[in-house]
Amino acid sequence: MAQFLSGYAMYTFSSIVVFVALATLLHLQFGLTGIVNFGVVGFFGLGMYSFGVFLIQYNIPYLVAMLLATVLTGVVALGLGKLILDLDSQSILVATLAIATVVEDLVITEKWLTKGVIGLGTVPFPFDLGPFSQAGYFLLALVLTVLLILYAYKLESSPYGRLLLSMQDNEPLARSLGKSTSRQKLIFFSITSGLMGLFGTLHASNIHFMVPRMLGPGVTFTVWIALILGGRKRILGGLVGTLATIGLFDFVIETFVPIPAAQSQLLPVIKLWIYGLGLMLILMYRPSGILGEKKLTNR
């Protein structure tokens, strides 16, 4: 039992849970509010690395470092959002993609702080529970992700959720009804991006050792593919999509399908092929994702 709880499976489960959270946050930003955040990894990575720096370079206590990193990510998102959120979607896409690249580059170049390509470590699990430390960590990530999904549920049937939805549909019309859309978009973008940073700090505990390679655009693409596959307008779209992609490959296939050693290096390539193929099929035959369109709520 203890072996299972600290094994590779636990590592994979934790990664999946973190990616479910990221995809759910992207659903809130893109699926609900219409903000095309193509820099998911930027906020995720900023949270992860700043947490590592606070914890390892400055010896700040674990939970405090986590909180600081989350706030820092949110503040950066606030600054960026102030500059770009009132621009059109293409500009937002490019700008968020750019900030992600900036984060990655800074991590590589600012060696005094991040140790560059050598990598930064070691990040321990949040609670020292002996053989159950990893399980404790997993539980924390799981609880936070479940809370996030519950929040999304309540949000979407609340006045604020309705406001966010109206901004995606027709922002000028919402403004003409007295809604301060720019301000609300900015607040919501900062909070959800800050939370992407929070899940970045959690991921740091899972991988223990950070290298800049982890901050490539692959993370953003994975999260986007998962959300689009699952259904961008659905709260569980991120969960379903993440299970259908990372869950299927990094857990089910790697654990249960016997792949000869000679072919195992092909697996990541095949994985990308199938992600791409799946995405194309979904966009062609079911553009609103596996879960489909959101239905109107009846009262």
């Binding site: 929040y151 309540k154 949000l155 049937s157 609340s158 006045p159 604020y160 959720g161 309705r162 406001l163 939805l165 109206s166 995606q168 549909d169 027709n170 000028p172 019309l173 919402a174 403004r175 003409s176 009804l177 007295g178 809604k179 301060s180 859309t181 609300q184 607040i187 919501f188 909070i191 307008k233 959101k294 109107l296 709520t297 009846n298 009262r299």
Partner: protein, 254 residues
């Protein structure tokens, strides 16, 4: 007779060198319902968009008089102006794709105190607060299915007007309210407008090409052409005026 609601001083707007609106002095909202007529391209919609600040004016000043106070709104944002009580209905059909008719009204009725990211449990309070009002409107204007989308162009147009009405504006601008609206609904809308301007602190400015409607409901009519207000008068006066006939109704040769 109500106090004036708006005083427009020396405002101008041009697009690519062509002056679309250029008004030296105009007082609006001294009557319950005022009409604004003029040929296409006269600048009627632009004038309305300058007042609500959907468009930025080149220069000029708009002073608003809510409850008798004086307030310069020349540099306020569109959403602030709407919150102050100056609201405009749209000529071109506008809707929220993902909201049902009821949700659309709830959106309009909801205020900033509910619209906070942490107030995710406030739906019940909002529903309770707005139930009676929403039911009243849904009963008065019959919709096919209030819990579904507005289906026809007519329903969307009507919903657009109601969304503005529930904001309880002090000054309502209506840009061709009858365009796309079925006749029976037009009558209902106009009856309600007359009632509201009489009973509540609300003035309306209507832009309309249906002149019979203008002559019927307006207490005062402005005639606009080439960016300027050329005439102001009672419906009878404007109707008989030679300039209006020449510039608008195309009867110069009679």
């Amino acid at each position: 007779m109500p106090e004036k609601k708006l005083h427009i001083k020396n405002i101008a707007k041009s697009f690519g060198g062509r002056t679309v609106v250029d008004i030296a002095d105009l007082t609006l909202g001294t009557h319950g319902i005022e009409g604004l007529i003029g040929p296409n391209g006269a600048g009627k919609t632009t004038l309305m968009n300058l007042i609500t600040h959907k468009l930025k004016m080149d220069h000029g000043q708009v002073v608003y008089y809510p409850n008798g106070e004086e307030m310069d709104i020349s540099n306020r944002s569109m959403d602030e102006i709407a919150r102050f009580g100056i609201v405009k209905t749209n000529l071109i059909i506008q809707d929220f794709e993902s909201l049902s008719i009821r949700d659309s009204l709830l959106l309009s009725l909801s205020t900033r105190k509910y619209e906070k990211f942490y107030r995710i449990f406030s739906e019940g309070a909002l529903l309770k607060e707005t139930k009676a009002e929403i039911e009243e409107y849904l009963e008065y204007f019959h919709f096919e299915n209030p819990d579904g989308h507005a289906l026809s162009a007519g329903e969307k147009k009507l919903l657009d007007i109601i969304r503005c009405l529930v904001l309880k504006p002090k000054f309502l601008l209506m840009d061709e309210p009858t365009a796309g609206l079925p006749e029976d609904q037009t009558i209902k809308v106009m009856d309600l407008m007359k009632k509201k301007t009489k009973e509540e602190d609300m003035s309306i400015l209507i832009v309309e090409h249906d002149l019979d409607l203008i002559w019927n409901v307006s207490e005062i009519v402005y005639f606009m052409a080439e960016g300027e207000i050329l005439l102001k008068g009672t419906p009878e006066e404007i109707r008989k005026d030679r300039t209006v006939a020449v510039k608008y109704m195309g009867v110069s040769h009679v």
